[in-house]
Subunit: 256 residues, 2 copies
Amino acid sequence: MRIKLIIAYDGTNYHGFQSQVNGIAIQDVIESALADLFCEPLRIKSASRTDTGVHAEGNVAVFDVETRIAPSKIALALNARLPEDIRIVDSEEVPGDFHPRFQETVKTYEYRILNRKFPDPMMRNLENHIYYPLDAEKMDRAAQYLVGEHDFASFCSSGYSSKTTVRTIYRAEVIRTGDRISFFITGNGFLYNMVRILAGTLIEIGEGKYPPEEMEKILEARDRSCAGQTALAKGLVLKEIRYPEWERAQEQGPLA
Amino acid sequence: MRIKLIIAYDGTNYHGFQSQVNGIAIQDVIESALADLFCEPLRIKSASRTDTGVHAEGNVAVFDVETRIAPSKIALALNARLPEDIRIVDSEEVPGDFHPRFQETVKTYEYRILNRKFPDPMMRNLENHIYYPLDAEKMDRAAQYLVGEHDFASFCSSGYSSKTTVRTIYRAEVIRTGDRISFFITGNGFLYNMVRILAGTLIEIGEGKYPPEEMEKILEARDRSCAGQTALAKGLVLKEIRYPEWERAQEQGPLA
């Protein structure tokens, strides 16, 4: 059967989610826990290959296994075998054709900024410290240009091979709470480094380098060099991945 | 001249604030940065000797030095010499008789609880994860018995040598925000482990082990065995230390 995992992690100590030649990835650690639990080598397929230092509250991965362990109990059994900076939040059985990447998805990210003179040592790996003042209201106005279907070629790191750079954004919002500024974005997909380049551009708008309206021109330019810098990885959190098509099918009951 | 530092830190990697025989304390690291900056061995005196794993947003320490560096610039100069999990938030000159411990102080602590099924890997060192449901409203009602002048002998770890176990609490509040519960307490002083034992007692009240009114009886008993367990260190944050007497004197201008 196919098992879907919802995975939360602090990405600080890992070389991203996906296994690679250099360093330990989150995938390696989870696959090692799976091997220990099921006594066989198992591979997982993930929804999002987050970069080094990027965090998640709800990444999704699947794997196939034959087992008598109840699907809902697999989360607890894996957590007993995982380090504290990786937690399986939920486990459930899904149909054999469920793939976390190749079907309709709605992803939500948060980019976190601490905007005050001194960084917070407790949150040093979990937010981007910007000491000069940012105007969050201007950043929010700029973020509104992102909502809808657009070509995000200006917000994509070079070397990315995707069929299209068009994506649909359902929500984009910048909220200040005291010294902290969060940029929330929800869409049907994101290009490589897209949220971090958007965050970097919003930071430049927040410091007054150019006005909120510039965001529309940057989008239209379809040129990476028009956008801001790629913001630090540690401020980024993958909050949630939803599968609307699949969730609707679930609600209608299992098919024969 | 005497310099007052406001110090924030993630206590996870240190054996408490005060220097001791086993392991590295936060004091050691700061004194090493001071020696590097001023080219002489300097000792600091702190307001609070937080335990291993306890955090701070505003611990206070002083040291004496003769220097041409402007007092307000010392914070930046020290931060350049400190690891990221310790930050000097502010530095200023104070009168030579200012002592962070031996004068009127008002301290505020926060004890943080994550109350849901799974822990948050990003916050694993910064909050106490309790998976069974807690009734924060009951905890807040119990906390109200703490306000005022009381003998807190029931909330003091044994082996503590203080002249008196009477302290005055100005504010005690338990607030739930989503899955997170915070216990805030402000008072003129705290006995050894007092906030953690109070938090442990509130957690037992929150889970329904005994009713909020029991807090009054536990206070009256003046017996450590009547209170709850000492809650984990990692949930505790020293938020702020104020010096009302000294602040009043400051407002009236420097004395001749």
